[in-house]
Amino acid sequence: MKSKKLFQIAVLIIIFLAILALTWAPESLKKAIFQGRAYANELNIKITLQGEYDKIASPTIKTKVLFYKESGLAKQFVDQPLTKVNKNIFTINIDTTGLDLNTPYALFIKPDRYVGRLFCAPTIYSASCTSPQITISAGSNTLDLTNAVLYAGDINPQDGKITAEDISKILQQIGQASTTYLSGDINSDSKVESVDYSLALYSLSKNYVDDSVLFGGTSAPTNTPAPTTGDSPTNAPTPTTGNSPTTAPTPTTGSTGGTCKATVNGKIYGSAMMQSFCSPLNNETAEKCVDSASQCTNTACIDQVIVEAKAGIAKCGSAYGATLDEAKSRATLTCQTQFVPGSCVPTPTPTISCDNNGPSC
């Protein structure tokens, strides 16, 4: 009887001590115990910004972070706050809950008033970034992207390039100070000074622009090949040249640039269900509105063909594990482009049809 009482008292003391311990436990331990691992799904990204931030106590800079998969945009985060670590190194904390842990990503990072940069890996960025390679694991991740500096100057409008308009707006605001948002205040010290002008001038002189994302149909995908699926799984899906094909070109803007006319020849190779397939492109024609003749090049046209072939296969052949053999396809593709300046009427975007049996090679 006595031992039973002792046992009860001991249990009470243990409960009391446990509660006491929990009260004094660090906040992180409490979260780990009560909320489990899901709480710590985060990605801590470290980046380098152009400029001197040594004497600026707490610069308030926000950034846009876009996660791209091979097939296109996966998730985007806007207005993410940057936290200064030291000098011009900043960190961004992203909640990665919901991102696929088995998929490689590429990250497009564009801080406010800065030119955006695309990262496929810590040392692979900008023009070298052609295939996503950043993988995220469960829990807490860190990603050091400080190898590449992000350059300033794209202030208003933030159109991905630094123009006379940006420089003029900084000049117009020079000498202004305010606790509210000043578009010309590049280094976020609440005043527009000659240092902001110098930062933008440097980037303009180097002609820095936002990096292009070429994979996954992210560069304005439109006309897409219609891969056929066939009824039986043994029938490998074949991208057909059906309705206005792969070439391309996307109606983008009714801009003052002009029309890019393209004629495409070649073959689209791929594989599905352990079988390879091939779809011919014979003098396929397409038109696209472009801002300038520089957007109407043979290379850009082939890139667009690849992008659309991928989009078509992703839509119609994903159930069969279909993939595009990009290298083999690229080797066969030829584009003849012609830039016609003047007003351009955007053509409607054809929808991807998966029940269109096209020709095979």
């Binding site: 009470l12 006379a164 308009e165 020079i174 005043k191 801002d291 300038s292």
Partner: protein, 209 residues
């Protein structure tokens, strides 16, 4: 009876613990709130300190405003003149407009086919500074800016040469007609943050003779 007392005591101690934990949490919240208030106050103090413009920038602003007062925000435009010289063409681009007009920044972008090649760009005198001269396979982009050197603000002015461009044909066709096209979306002339570009008076195409 003794058991009842023990259970009652244990119940009371658990409830006491819960109250104590809640209180400690509230206390933490109060501390956090106080820290937040302190941080906000500190930020305001920092902001007040931040808002002091350096004397140099204040002087620069005054100089800019003084110079701006001499000019009108009248429209400005580009004109072009092309001359053939053997297998090359020399294209002279001028900034034009009212004599009291001025610009602090201008971009000129010309597009052309792959059959032309820019061999030289000589900047003119309409702007004191030309920080960007870019040529691609099928375009060229020139930027002229105002100068702020020694806090002396000098704007771009009309009636002067913007740039001389030398171009040659990369093909062998002799009777082919070549043209350069103005890229209207990427060509800009600005003064004090406002567009002063007159795209109607600016050429849309330069046909090479």
């Amino acid at each position: 009876m003794k058991n009842l007392i023990i259970y009652a005591l244990s119940g009371i101690s658990v409830i006491a613990c819960i109250f104590w934990i809640n209180n400690s949490r509230n206390y933490q919240k109060k501390i956090a709130l106080l820290e937040e208030v302190n941080s906000t106050c500190q930020q305001k103090v920092n902001q007040q300190q931040k808002l002091s413009i350096s004397l140099n920038d204040f002087y620069l602003m005054a100089q800019k405003n003084k110079t701006l007062a001499k000019f009108n925000a009248s429209p400005l435009y580009f004109t072009a003149n092309a001359v053939k010289n053997n297998n090359q063409w020399k294209i002279s681009i001028y900034l034009q407009g009212d004599s009291l007009a001025a610009a602090d920044a201008a971009d000129l972008r010309l597009d052309f086919g792959n059959n032309l090649k820019v061999t030289e760009i000589k900047t003119g005198t309409s702007f004191p500074l030309y920080p960007r001269k870019v040529t691609g396979d099928d375009y060229l982009l020139i930027t002229g800016l105002a100068s702020l050197a020694n806090n002396n603000v000098v704007f771009g002015q009309p009636g002067k040469l913007f740039a001389d461009i030398t171009i040659e044909a990369s093909g062998t066709a002799t009777n082919q007609k070549y043209s350069l096209y103005l890229n209207k979306s990427d060509t800009k002339i600005y003064l004090n943050g406002e567009s002063v570009f007159d795209d109607k008076k600016t050429f849309s195409q330069i046909v090479l003779p």
